[in-house]
């Protein structure tokens, strides 16, 4: 209940509030002042009535001296009756002498003796109020005195009803006057509040328009005379000329002679003495409305500038984001609480996260507890010390081991305090692989050199052992001994073969330089093994590019490579499969590519980088030495080429009609690239060069 009135008042319109407020004040003040004045005037009227009664009584007493001295009862009676008859509110008059004898009175039908018991002392406060059957009566007592002698007393009764009626009339007049003034005041308040609220409403509507986005508003009123009219100005180049919405003092760069060329409000000092300002300056509300208009226009200008800047920033942001997302490097930005503020697409993709799953999170939300704890201490150290960190880390991923080069640097703000941490990380797995291959190459080169030296030294004793064994075989007829010698001969040949391979691997053997038709060498090898392979149901397919020019090399050694490759393929297939040999010219890269794909059991990923190591083999013990691929690697390297393997083979290394079977393994493809001689004709390339991708 106690909130009802405030709630009701709060819900009223401002105009109603002003009207009610002013009306309330008028009623309050009007009635208050009316009551006060009415009481004052009532008191004054009563006092006036009392004074009048006292004056009448005193005057009568003064005139009674002579009649009393002369005991002229007629004159006494005449004087008393004169006063009694002259004034309607004089109820009675009577006169007593010094001995309280009633000398004369205006009563008929006897004298009311009660009057002789009241107001006897003329010195008491006059008059005395009597309550009679005829209403309230003021009884006045005045002595008839001559000098110090008291000759008698005049008593006069004055009816208060006439005074009360007059007071009542005065109060009614006061009430109606007050009500009239209050009513007029309310009308004026209503008009005043309407005048004020009309402009406030206009201001409010303008504010609502601004809130809704329309900044082209006008809360102020148009002027009856604008600055160029007052100043009789013809300077149309002035920014104020023709602008009826804004007062000239709100504009910068106006061309008035007295106007200092400064922006509002700094130029107001000079404007206040300007006749235009004095003429057009309004009250506070108009000032507010005009300032509001200027504010709206200023905001509009600012917003347009901001919009343009926003577009620029958005473009730059987009560009930056594109760069960040396109770059394969990981880029993240963390604040000083190590919460991610940004994470590049590469980072998110790498950890299979979305951007919103990273931004705002910490490492504890993303990584394992151990990893996050490690990162946390590392990051905090950077934030505390300001020392950048550069390191290489490795991850074991399902697709293999990954290497990352991580750089963490602190981010400083303008006051040189650290506000965050920038991380960049690059996947250097490939680089590491190349590093390993380089090391491997170097290792193999050293090993080959070692093996070559050893083989060269062993080759001679082996030749002697073989020679003497064969000599012995010619001389010995004992079958058992002969069988033993044959075993020695065979195993010595095996050793010599191994030594020869080792020499080949280490290029220790002599190589011939001649013009080699690669396709022809391949065909020769195919013919050599085709029949043997067919016994194991291994089919050899080929697609040899006829445009391959002859290249300079060692034909026999190349044939050894092809043979090694085919043997390896057959070994991998075992029974029932297919081998596909393809040669291709990549003229733009000045090389030819020979790929040998099989349907064998394939090579594990972890072994792909090791298969070219000497003596590395996945074959059973006794089935292979692990030198075939190493030797091939060495031969191809001698020819300036390179050899690699992929398992399973990508489809581009297989023909469309390559036989398929569920019994086939995943297969492997060996890709051998050989550089062309520079003076060869190379502009005849198959338009479909997709097979040249290696």
């Amino acid at each position: 209940m106690t909130r009802l009135l405030p709630d009701f008042l709060h819900g009223l319109k401002f105009r109603t509030k002003i009207t009610l407020g002013v009306a309330g004040m008028l009623v309050f003040c009007g009635l208050g002042i009316g009551i006060i004045l009415s009481n004052m005037s009532s008191k004054a009227l009563l006092e006036e009535g009392r004074k009048r009664g006292m004056a009448l009584t005193s005057g009568l007493a003064f005139r009674m001296a002579e009649p009393i001295l002369a005991m002229d009862f007629l004159q006494m009676k005449n004087l008393i009756d004169n006063v009694h008859g002259q004034y309607e509110d004089v109820v009675y008059v009577f006169l007593t002498d010094a001995s309280d004898n009633i000398l004369s009175h205006t009563f008929s039908g006897g004298f009311p003796t009660d009057l002789l018991t009241v107001n006897l002392d003329g010195n008491e406060t006059q008059p005395v109020l009597l309550s009679t059957e005829q209403g309230l009566i003021y009884d006045f007592n005045a002595k008839v005195a001559l000098g110090e002698r008291n000759l008698g007393t005049v008593r006069l009764g004055l009816s208060r009803s006439e005074m009360d009626a007059q007071i009542h009339r005065q109060r009614l007049t006061s009430l109606f006057s007050t009500l009239g003034v209050v009513g007029l005041g309310v009308l004026l308040a209503s008009w005043f509040s309407r005048t004020v609220t009309y402009r406030l409403n206009r201001l409010r509507e303008s504010a609502e328009e601004v809130v809704m986005g329309n900044l082209d508003v006008q809360a102020g009123f148009n002027l009856d005379q604008n600055c160029w009219q007052i100043m009789n100005c013809q300077r149309k180049e002035c920014p104020a000329y023709g602008d009826v919405k804004r007062r000239c003092w709100y504009l910068a760069g106006t061309l008035c002679p007295d106007c200092k060329d400064r922006e509002y409000p700094y130029k107001m000092d000079s404007c206040r003495s300007c006749p235009v300002y004095k003429h057009n300056f309004g009250d506070e509300i108009q000032d507010l409305a005009e300032a509001f208009d200027v504010m709206a226009i200023t905001i509009k200008t600012h917003i347009e500038e901001l919009t343009e800047r926003e577009k620029t920033i958005a473009r730059q942001q987009g560009l930056l984001k594109t760069i960040m997302n396109v770059t394969p490097d990981f880029i993240t930005l963390q604040d000083k609480d190590l919460r991610y503020k940004f994470a590049s697409k590469a980072f998110c993709d790498y950890f299979h996260l979305k951007e919103n799953e990273v931004v705002g999170k910490t490492d504890f939300d993303i990584f394992s507890g151990q990893q996050a704890d490690l990162n946390y201490h590392e990051d905090m150290q950077i934030l505390i010390t300001g020392q950048a960190l550069s390191k290489e880390i490795t991850f074991d991923r399902p697709e293999g081991r990954k290497w990352l080069h991580v750089i963490k640097v602190p981010v400083y703000d303008q006051d040189e305090s650290i506000i965050g941490l920038l991380l960049t990380a690059r996947d250097i797995t490939m680089l590491k692989k190349y590093q390993e291959q380089l090391i491997q190459s170097q290792k193999m080169e050293d090993l080959g050199r070692l093996a070559g030296g050893v083989a060269h030294e062993i080759n001679t004793p082996l030749g002697i052992i073989l020679g003497y064994a064969q000599l012995l075989m010619e001389d010995i007829e004992d079958e058992d001994l002969l069988d033993d010698l044959k075993i020695i001969e065979k195993q010595t040949k095996v050793c010599r073969k191994i030594v020869a391979d080792l020499l080949g691997f280490s290029r220790y053997s002599q190589s011939a330089t001649e013009t080699v038709d690669v396709n022809e060498s391949i065909q020769e090898v195919i013919k050599l093994v085709e029949h043997i392979f067919s016994l194991n149901h291994i089919k050899i397919l080929n697609d040899l590019d006829r445009h391959i020019p002859p290249l300079t090399g060692d034909k026999e050694r190349l044939k050894q490579v092809w043979l090694n490759m085919l043997n390896n393929a057959a070994d991998a297939i075992g029974q029932d499969g297919a081998i596909y040999i393809k040669s291709k010219l990549c003229a733009h890269r000045q090389r030819l590519v020979v790929s040998i794909a099989d349907t064998g059991k394939g090579i594990e990923d972890e072994n792909l980088s090791k298969i070219f190591d000497p003596f590395f083999t996945t074959k059973q013990v006794g089935k292979g030495t692990g030198l075939g691929l190493s030797v091939s690697f060495g031969i191809i390297k001698d020819h300036g080429g390179k050899i690699s393997a992929l398992s399973p083979p990508p489809v581009e290394y297989l023909p469309d009609d390559f036989p398929r079977s569920e019994h086939f393994g995943p297969g492997t493809v060996f890709i051998i690239e050989l550089p062309l001689d520079h003076d060869q004709e190379t502009d005849t390339e198959d338009k479909n060069g997709e097979h040249c991708r290696t």
Binding site: N39, K43, I102, T113, R149
Partner: protein
């Protein structure tokens, strides 16, 4: 809002208190209970009357102290009565309503001749004389009247036909200068009031006026007496006299006479106050023979004393 509530109530209280009128206590009186009132008769007393040459209030204020003094000194109840006119005074004396009369010598002579009044004392005027005279006055700016001769054919206002200083003495003076009553354009009487004579002349209603000597000082606080000039003075005659009724016992007369003669203007503060109020400074014994010059004057001017 709760913090502002007390201020609102204070303001409201101010209005409420200010709106309260002083409620007067009324004494309950019935105007219906009535009785017929009769005047209680006054106690018997000796009556004392001052010849009404001034208003009753003036007469009262001059003599009520003397009356009270005489009453106290003699132990007799004495009450001042107020005749309206000279004739009224004479008539009341004749009717026995005045036991002690204070009058001018002309009235005394009439009272003595008609009703046997006897002189008791005479007063000593403020100038120390037991005699007095009349004065003939005119407006100071009336340049037509400068001597007694200039009064002939003029309008004359006198105090009363029974006035001594105000009529009889001036009339004798005019007769001595050969001017008879018929020589005046008119002779008007002012009802026994010296002040009316002076004011009548000052107002221009009459050319000349006759007053007893000393009357001008009575009105000096009412008018500018410089606007009045004195044309001439009469000879002096015996002054005002206290007479008593022939029915008054001699011992009472003696008591009163003694009381009068005992008043000491010079040495008694209270007596001085009494005498100053009465505008004279003392008494001397007097008898009827003192007033023979007045009788002669009356005869000379042709006035009847009986």
């Amino acid at each position: 809002m709760p913090g502002k509530l007390p201020y609102f109530f204070i303001l409201l209280s101010v209005f409420i208190f200010s709106s309260c009128t002083d409620r007067e206590e009324a004494t309950k009186v019935s105007l219906e209970k009535r009785e017929e009132i009769t005047f209680r008769p006054q106690l018997p007393a000796l009556t004392y009357a001052y010849l009404p040459q001034y208003s009753h209030t003036e007469s009262f204020q001059r003599h009520h102290r003397l009356v009270e003094y005489l009453s106290e000194q003699t132990g007799l109840p004495i009450r001042q009565v107020f005749p309206d006119t000279f004739d009224d005074h004479i008539n009341m004396f004749g009717q026995g309503k005045i036991d002690i009369s204070y009058s001018n010598p002309f009235i005394y002579v009439k009272l003595a001749n008609r009703f046997g009044a006897r002189a008791m004392t005479r007063i000593i005027e403020e100038d120390g004389q037991a005699e007095f005279r009349g004065q003939i006055i005119a407006r100071a700016d009336n340049h037509d009247i400068n001597t007694i001769e200039d009064c002939r054919g003029k309008s004359w206002v006198a105090v009363d036909p029974s006035s001594a200083g105000g009529y009889l003495f001036p009339l004798g003076h005019f007769v001595d200068h050969g001017i008879e009553l018929n020589d005046f354009r008119e002779v008007v009487f002012a009802g026994g009031r010296q002040e009316n004579v002076i004011l009548g002349v000052l107002a221009g209603l009459h050319d000349i006026g006759s007053i007893r000597e000393g009357s001008l000082s009575v009105v000096e606080d009412k008018i500018d007496i410089n606007q009045i000039k004195i044309i001439d003075n009469t000879r002096s005659y015996p002054g005002w006299v206290y007479a008593y009724s022939p029915w008054l016992p001699e011992e009472i007369v003696q008591q009163i006479r003694d009381a009068m003669l005992n008043l000491d203007y010079e040495h008694d503060h209270e007596h001085r106050a009494i005498l100053e109020a009465a505008r004279f400074i003392g008494f001397i014994p007097s008898d009827d023979q003192d007033f023979d010059p007045v009788r002669e004057l009356s005869q000379k001017v042709g006035l009847e004393l009986d």
